[in-house]
């Protein structure tokens, strides 16, 4: 891969890692398993890609919170 593309790829990876870590720490006590929570965080991260102009931070927190609540209530 060309150096510039490696930089871009690294920036996207950092985006994932930073948001994933922050969202995981923000989830608080949930009634779902860690693996399931990880899947929900990832689904929200992917969903945010479809709406590139959103306020990413708040958008992701809201999306993940709603997803976790939904999952807890369905149990």
């Amino acid at each position: 891969m060309l150096p510039l593309l490696v930089d871009v790829q690294n920036a996207h990876t950092r985006f994932y890692e930073e948001h994933f870590t922050r969202l995981a720490s923000l989830l608080g006590m949930t009634a779902i398993a860690a693996g399931e929570a990880a899947d929900l965080i990832e689904e929200a991260l992917y969903a945010s890609l479809h709406r590139p102009r959103v306020n990413t931070e708040q958008w992701l927190i809201a999306a993940v919170s709603a997803a976790v609540t939904d999952t807890e209530e369905s149990k």
Partner: protein, 393 residues
Amino acid sequence: VTRDGETPRLDGDRAGRFAAMRRQMEFERKAAPLIVETLLVETPREEWGALAAHPDLVNHGALHHLNFLFERMLPRDPEYAHDVAQLAVRIAEYIPVDGPYPRPIVSQMRAHAWKDLGKYQRFKGRYRESEATLRLAEAMVVGRKALSHDLAIIRFNLAVTLQELDRFGESLVLLSECKAIFRRHGDTTNAMLVAFAEGVLLQLMTRYREAREAYLLIVATTPDLDDEQLAALNNTIGLCSIELGEWDVAADAFDYAATLFSELDQPINALIVETGRGRLYVRSGQFSAGIAHLRPIRRQFLAHGLHEEAGLAGLEIVEGLLGLQNHSAAETLTRKLVREFELAQLNKRAVQALAHLTTILEARTASAPNVRHIREYIDSLRTNPERDFFLTA
């Protein structure tokens, strides 16, 4: 932090796959405008259906740009917008569920493409079709847990369609849910638009105090309102205040709206505000002042060729004349309005409603609520030209 006491674990492979997808989608969005618009120009409209399988179009970027084109073209050339929406639906359905995109994104792409088609159907007044299409779009995201924001966008559209079908209660529930979701997601633009739609609906339901609260809340909680939005909001606040009998509040709101529209150099909107002020005079019992205020406004609407606005201002005058017990002048003016509407070839239902008003004025059985009802009916024909007329007031 979870049920099993562990923190969700970061997986390096997953991070790599996500990074690649994010890069790909950014690239697609950058490339799409040129690719999409070139293909649309080079392909005859009747052959656009075949583009759905074009390898350069079956991607997120193309759908993103088609959505942009749809939004831009809907008010300018609805049939072009329809063909764009139809192509987007075909492309979205052509993208495989287990293909290059993760499932949430496939659901989003499909749902938003169908949503645009539902918006077009509503724009054309095909409300039942619009509801069916939007329900289809809704079903594509409703089970996906992280897509609550997408669901809110689709349900906001559904709420507006339901409003056109006179299903006000259902619409109001949806709007309230959507507003909460948009606020949680920090989407202030959509939150403001929903709040405004909520206010309009509450006004239609004659729940004027709640409608005014909704508008006042927008003014208080939306820091980036522009002057045009602020003026429009103040005009509606004034109209609600008339219905609540709060004349001073109405007058202040109209003053502010009129000043803003004048500063924005929007004379027609300023005239619409002055029509509201004329209504304020009539409803507060200042019939002669109201008539004197409304007559020049009506003439200015006519001078601009705005026959419908002139007719609505004329009906405010008719109500004032009834207040003065001048039935014969009210009847004469209404006959004039019928002729103006006929000459301008306005909606036949509006003409029929006005003709009905002439009949009851002639029989001396017309009341101010009758006039208001007919004015509201004619106003509603602008958004729903097929609405039936029932004299209920």
